[in-house]
């Protein structure tokens, strides 16, 4: 009798627990969707406004645009990927394929882990100390891209390393048994079969680089000179491709106008910028999934 009431109580507790867990998940999902809808919704009016997307930012007047910021964000992203992709690919191949258990490998892993948990503001401050001041590059796209590279390296290295390690052992053994070197096995067998995961990881990391601001405020700077796309003089501040000019990105723009608070249409401009940023991040997420799935299908169909 007593035991049956105990088991009834246990069953009731089980039901309650399941209910609470379901409620928690529901709350998170609703909150997340609400945040995304709120961000995109409150800036929706600016999202298709061409004069906002291409216009000149204003510091004291209403009606400023985000043209240079939009370009700078993408330009910095491309440069960062160009710098960080080869480096993290190399590091990941070393860690996944060459590294033996031992003090050197442990030290390398610890250092990459350290870099991944350093606050991005600290990375930005180092960028200011080293690239901006020590090397004398000033607030520039180059300094910013290098700071972002340091921010992105540990993320990418980890993604690529995991992708390589997820390739079945048989493939590695088969390559080595055929007389290929480790290097040839990696280049011709492992990387192609890890490609879907690598590409997905790279695009997702691109989303994080795109929205990063703390590493940039003291490296790429907080000013956005108007760009002239007919100017190909690489030493001119208005040449879009000049990597030695200061470049404020979308994320930095949001932070700056909100902390200064002098733009009259602050709310509209920051909502619009946040919506543009959010749409880009959503696009990165969706593209990552589609490309990953398509590569996967092509790989398995062969």
């Amino acid at each position: 009798m007593a035991s049956s009431s105990a088991s009834a109580r246990a069953r009731r507790q089980d039901h309650i627990a399941t209910g609470v867990l379901t409620a928690i998940v529901a709350v998170i999902c609703v909150a997340l969707v609400a945040i995304v809808v709120y961000i995109v919704g409150s800036g929706a009016g600016k999202l298709f406004d061409v004069s906002f997307l291409t216009g000149k930012p204003q510091q004291f007047k209403a009606g400023g645009g985000i043209g240079p910021e939009l370009f700078n964000s993408f330009y910095l992203l491309v440069l960062t990927l160009l710098l960080s992709l080869p480096l993290s690919l190399g590091a990941a191949i070393y860690l996944a394929e060459y590294a033996h258990e031992g003090p050197v490998t442990t030290a390398a892993k610890t250092i990459i882990e350290t870099l991944s948990s350093l606050p991005s503001i600290v990375v930005g401050l180092f960028g200011m100390l080293f690239f901006v001041l020590q090397l004398g590059w000033g607030f520039s796209i180059m300094s910013g891209a290098l700071a972002l590279t340091m921010f992105n390296l540990p993320i990418l290295t980890r993604v690529i390393q995991q992708a390589l390690e997820a390739v079945p052992r048989d493939q590695r053994d088969a390559g080595l048994a055929l007389g290929l070197t480790r290097w040839e096995t990696t280049i011709h067998i492992l990387i192609p079969s890890a490609m879907p995961a690598i590409v997905t990881g790279v695009i997702l990391s691109a989303g994080r680089v795109f929205g990063e601001a703390a590493a940039l405020i003291y490296t790429a700077g907080q000013s956005a000179p108007m760009l002239d796309f007919t100017n190909f003089d690489l030493s001119s501040a208005s040449c879009p491709w000049n990597v030695w000019r200061p470049a404020e990105t979308l994320a930095v723009h949001i932070w700056k106008i909100n902390s200064e608070g002098v733009v009259p249409d602050l709310a509209a401009v920051s909502s619009g910028t946040a919506a543009v940023l959010m749409v880009c991040i959503l696009a990165f997420n969706i593209i990552a999934r589609i490309v990953g799935r398509r590569l996967e299908r092509r790989l398995t169909a062969e």
């Binding site: 070393y94 030290a107 100390l129 997702l204 601001a213």
Partner: protein
């Protein structure tokens, strides 16, 4: 014969050596960058004590932050305790807020409905990771700060607003690592518990969670690392008043918020600038400490897991 084989192998060996050299150089470059970073930030951060002669104790325990002025003894007023207290408060409080949600959803995803977890929940949390921190700050500024103001009065800026924003930001980190930890518990443990007639909740509470505890602890510490170092989102909602926090809803400051707001205004080499670098050094040391803690937990938890 043996000699011919040796010759044929030579180009292969060269390829292998080149591969090792290229990839090893990448790792080496990253290592040099990280060590340079630690060295440069540390040497700038120590200037407060070596060049400017500020006693270490008055930096760590002083409660007045006004580096432009000196106290009666001629020592600059660089008490960093308000910011250190602020950083720890937002970190702990945001973890307290995020943990039940992260743990609850991790349990749900692994134990209750794995299909929903991989199809819907995990892609959603990945999206949450991707939302830029300034956008979180902006949402905090628009929604959380007015909400806090509506019931607590004052400005609405403060530790509580900062912690709520941070809780959202660390939620995906803590959740996905908790999911990994719970998933790593061997199925045989669950089967054993069910075989004894336990309900699902009893199995979760008495078998799964205790076995996953070291992994969950790692998840929480990594969340704290992220919360401690987050700069812009916190700076936008915390109020930026460098005073010892007396209430959760009055303006406060964190290490990161003071660095971001002041670094651009103070010239290199001044006392004010030096002490900002000391704050950055504290930030750096704390993230190294967090990593150390994770390693210790990992070593302790490994034999059991």
């Amino acid at each position: 014969m043996a000699k011919g084989e040796e010759k044929a192998l030579r180009p292969k060996r060269a390829i292998e050596r080149r591969g090792l050299a290229i990839t090893g150089a990448c790792v080496l470059l990253v290592a040099v960058l990280v060590l340079t970073l630690i060295f440069m930030v540390a040497s700038r951060g120590l200037a407060t004590f070596t060049t400017d002669g500020t006693p270490f104790a008055s930096f760590m325990t002083g409660t007045t932050w006004n580096p432009h002025q000196n106290d009666a003894n001629g020592i600059p007023l660089v008490g960093a305790l308000p910011m250190i207290a602020g950083s720890f408060s937002v970190t702990l409080l945001s973890c307290l807020i995020a943990l039940p949600f992260a743990l609850g959803s991790a349990i749900f995803v692994v134990e209750v409905n794995p299909t929903f977890g991989t199809r819907v929940f995990q892609p959603l949390t990945e999206l949450l990771v991707g939302i830029p921190s300034v956008v979180f700050g902006l949402v905090g500024l628009r929604i959380i700060v007015p909400w806090t103001r509506s019931w607590a009065g004052g400005t609405g800026y403060g530790i509580l607003s900062g912690s709520i924003v941070l809780a959202f930001m660390i939620l995906p980190t803590v959740t996905s690592l908790s999911i990994d930890a719970i998933r790593a518990v061997p199925q045989s443990y669950r089967d054993g518990s069910y075989g004894l007639g336990c309900t699902r909740w009893q199995t979760i509470a008495h078998v799964v969670l205790p076995s996953a505890s070291s992994g969950i602890l790692t998840a929480v510490i990594l969340g704290m690392t992220r919360a401690f170092g987050e700069a812009l989102a916190v700076q936008m909602v915390v109020g930026n008043a460098a005073q010892i926090p007396t209430s959760l809803t009055t303006p406060a400051a964190t290490l990161t918020s003071v660095i971001t707001t002041s670094m651009g205004n103070e010239a290199m080499g001044t006392v004010y600038n030096d002490v900002l670098w000391s704050l950055a050094l504290v930030l750096l040391i704390m993230s190294l400490v967090f990593i150390l803690i994770i390693h210790i937990i990992g070593r302790k938890g490994a034999p059991r897991g």
